[in-house]
Amino acid sequence: MARTTRVTKALPRVHEIRNLTESTYVLRFDRRDLEFEPGQYVSVGVKGDIDMREYSIYSPVDADFLEILVKEIDGGHVSRRLRRVRPGDEVEVDGPFGFFTIDEPDRRRPLLFIATGTGISPFHCFAGSYSDLDFRLLHGVRTAGERYDHDAFPSDRLTTCLSRDPQGVAAAAHVARAEPVADGRAAVGSADSSAVAGRVTDYLREHPVDPGTRCYLCGNCDMIYEAFDILKGHGVAPEHLYAEVYF
């Protein structure tokens, strides 16, 4: 396990804000000497504001900056204020925290990453930090516009599940071709890049997972709860399911 340096309430300077959609952006700031393990999160707030929120680290472990993926929430206090910061401003950062990490032996096994919305953030970090992971990523979004930085993932490892955008499916470069392989199980890490209509849980129901797969889930509580049951039904042991709940 990597050694982590605790940086309590550091005040790094903002480098840039990169807008991905009208409501979602990547905030980049100084890393200082913060060490972390891919999958961990930091608590971030506007300088001088008592409120802070937790965000998984989006940037790779060897980058000399830190990035977080933020969705601006209606009525949200922190996400809206963070969007108004400017390069050179200071933000408050505490951390790293969390245990949503991949143990070294598991990095050599087939992995299934399942995300909804900004829950893709830790997987973006995993993919950028570990060059030889054997993973497949299911990303559940409402519309094609929410495919945050999908070009950061090898196209043959990614399936997008579009829950409210059937036109988006048709427009995707590759229409779904993720049929089960001969033994009836999805070939984790080998299917084509695709976009399919429906939720990630719909996809999981139709595409059995090899019981030896380590499954990492990040997103809203209801999706994870439902996916747990489906994956256990496919024979994945509970101790091989890892979750990071986003609220």
């Binding site: 925290f97 969390g98 509580c221 209801d222 709860y225 509970p238």
Partner: protein
């Protein structure tokens, strides 16, 4: 020198708080202070608070106000005399309530507000106050010497503080700080010191011990080291060794190696494993780090080593969005796991936690009803568990020996953390009374007891006989 000044203590909340209170009391006793009941007039009152629920906040305030009222008259008299504050009665407020309410609490010359990080310095602060001196706190959260048995028979050793889990309902990471592990060398030395001093049961405590790590030593490795110390013998029958107990533990990150610890004869077959909910949906919303199935498997593994292994727990009811089905799952878990004791508490929002902002807050009336239902189920489960010990042998650590109806009755806890009462045969009691030899000391000794019956009430005592 403190002379004959007296100090009264009150504490709330977790085992860690209890230990810290006892350690502070031990240090003040060694400085010459008398430790007295909280209701008695004292020169100093130390209130070690808790903030885990709204109820804990209220209790903390009440104790603080009681201590202030108790010192009020003496303080007023001192002010009229225009004497310096040194020597006037003193109130020390410390603990997690202090850390969560810093803005509304103010220190003055006779009321000291001490955050958790400086709690270890309270003995020096109290002593300096009565000397008219000022001390500057130094040290760290592990600077609590091994406590003498002032309030409890068991001796507690602090191994860890703080928590990084950030469960969505919990304020503890904010008030106890980030997880920090005491060096394994210091822990083992503290346990050895306690054993050498005659402790028969040592309790390892911390906020989140399952995440303990000191270099390459994890919690299992730490416990292994604590189990292999030479025992002490006083020559008294049964008093030949020590046993090790683990206090509250989070049920995550515990591998098979940890389970096997309980094959060691010195390990007490009891764990307080905080479940919080039997509903997987609620566990996710609480941001707990385990599934219910993992918990159930852990319980089964422990019971494979000892079928009567005592598993106790905490259950949180009325968490935001908890539906009837979720609550039913918690009730079902009480029976399925077969808990020996359930500590239940209704959810109350803690400022700054994620759950405070969650939708679906459950009405107070529903939380009250669910709490009552849990208590009923938990009482029944506790009785069933204790009935399962009938006919077995328990190793009682005697906490009290008292004469009742002409015979000597020994009470204390068995290795399964159950209350046991043993009435000694009349001739043994007679010998104790009539012999010219000094009567045998039973307190803090082990006694093998055959469990024969179970008492009544919601915390029924097991009754047994020696043998």
């Amino acid at each position: 020198m403190g002379g004959a000044r007296s100090v009264a203590f009150a504490d709330l909340g977790c085992k860690l708080n209890q230990f810290e209170t006892e350690s502070i009391a031990t240090q003040l006793q060694e400085k010459g202070y008398r430790i007295i009941e909280f209701d008695a007039p004292a020169d100093a009152y130390v209130v070690n608070t808790c903030t885990v629920t709204n109820r804990a906040d209220r209790k903390s305030r009440n104790l603080f106000n009681r201590a202030r009222r108790a010192t009020q008259a003496a303080q007023a008299a001192a002010e009229l005399s225009a004497e310096p504050a040194a020597g006037t009665p003193l109130v020390v407020l410390t603990g997690c309530f202090v850390n969560s309410h810093r803005d509304e609490l103010e220190s003055d010359g006779r009321t000291y507000i001490i955050a958790n990080e400086q709690k270890h310095s309270i003995p020096a602060l109290v002593d300096a106050h009565f000397r008219g001196e000022v001390v500057h706190p130094a040290g760290n959260v592990f600077d609590f010497p091994v406590a003498k048995r002032i309030f409890h028979t068991r001796t507690t050793v602090k191994v860890q503080d703080g928590c990084d889990n950030f469960c969505s309902f919990c304020i503890i990471p904010s008030v106890r700080g980030r997880a920090v592990s005491r060096s394994s060398r210091d822990v083992v030395a503290a346990v050895a010191e306690a054993v050498t001093a005659g402790a028969r049961e040592i309790v390892l405590t911390g906020v989140n011990m399952s995440r303990y790590r000191d270099g390459g030593v994890d919690f299992t490795g730490l416990v292994e080291a604590c189990l292999e110390l030479p025992g002490q013998s006083s020559g008294h029958p049964g008093e030949r060794d020590y046993r090790l107990r683990i206090s509250s533990l989070e049920p995550d990150g515990l591998a098979d190696r940890f389970i096997r610890l309980f094959e060691h004869p010195r390990m007490a077959p009891h764990l307080h494993l905080c479940l919080q909910s039997g509903s997987q949906r609620m566990l996710l919303a609480m941001r707990r780090q385990y599934t219910y199935e993992e918990y159930r498997r852990l319980a089964a593994d422990l019971r494979s080593i000892d079928p009567t292994f005592n598993i106790t727990t905490d259950l949180l009811v009325g968490f935001p969005s908890e539906e009837d089905d979720d609550f039913a799952a918690s009730l079902a878990a009480i029976d399925e796991i077969g808990f020996g004791h359930v500590h239940t508490f209704p959810y109350s929002p803690r400022e700054g936690t994620r759950a405070e902002r969650m939708r679906g807050q459950v009405p107070s009336r529903v939380k009250t009803e669910r709490s009552a239902a849990v208590r009923t189920a938990a009482d029944a489960a506790k009785r069933r568990y204790r009935e399962s010990l009938l006919g077995s042998r328990e190793r009682l650590l005697v906490e009290r020996a008292e004469r009742r109806d002409g015979t000597l009755v020994l009470t204390g806890l068995g290795e399964h953390y159950v209350p046991i009462s043993v009435r000694l045969p009349a001739r043994v009691g007679e010998h104790a009374r009539a012999s010219a030899d000094p009567p045998p000391r039973y307190e803090n000794t082990f006694l093998e007891a055959r469990i024969e019956s179970l008492g009544e009430g919601d915390d029924p005592v097991l009754h047994g006989s020696p043998g």
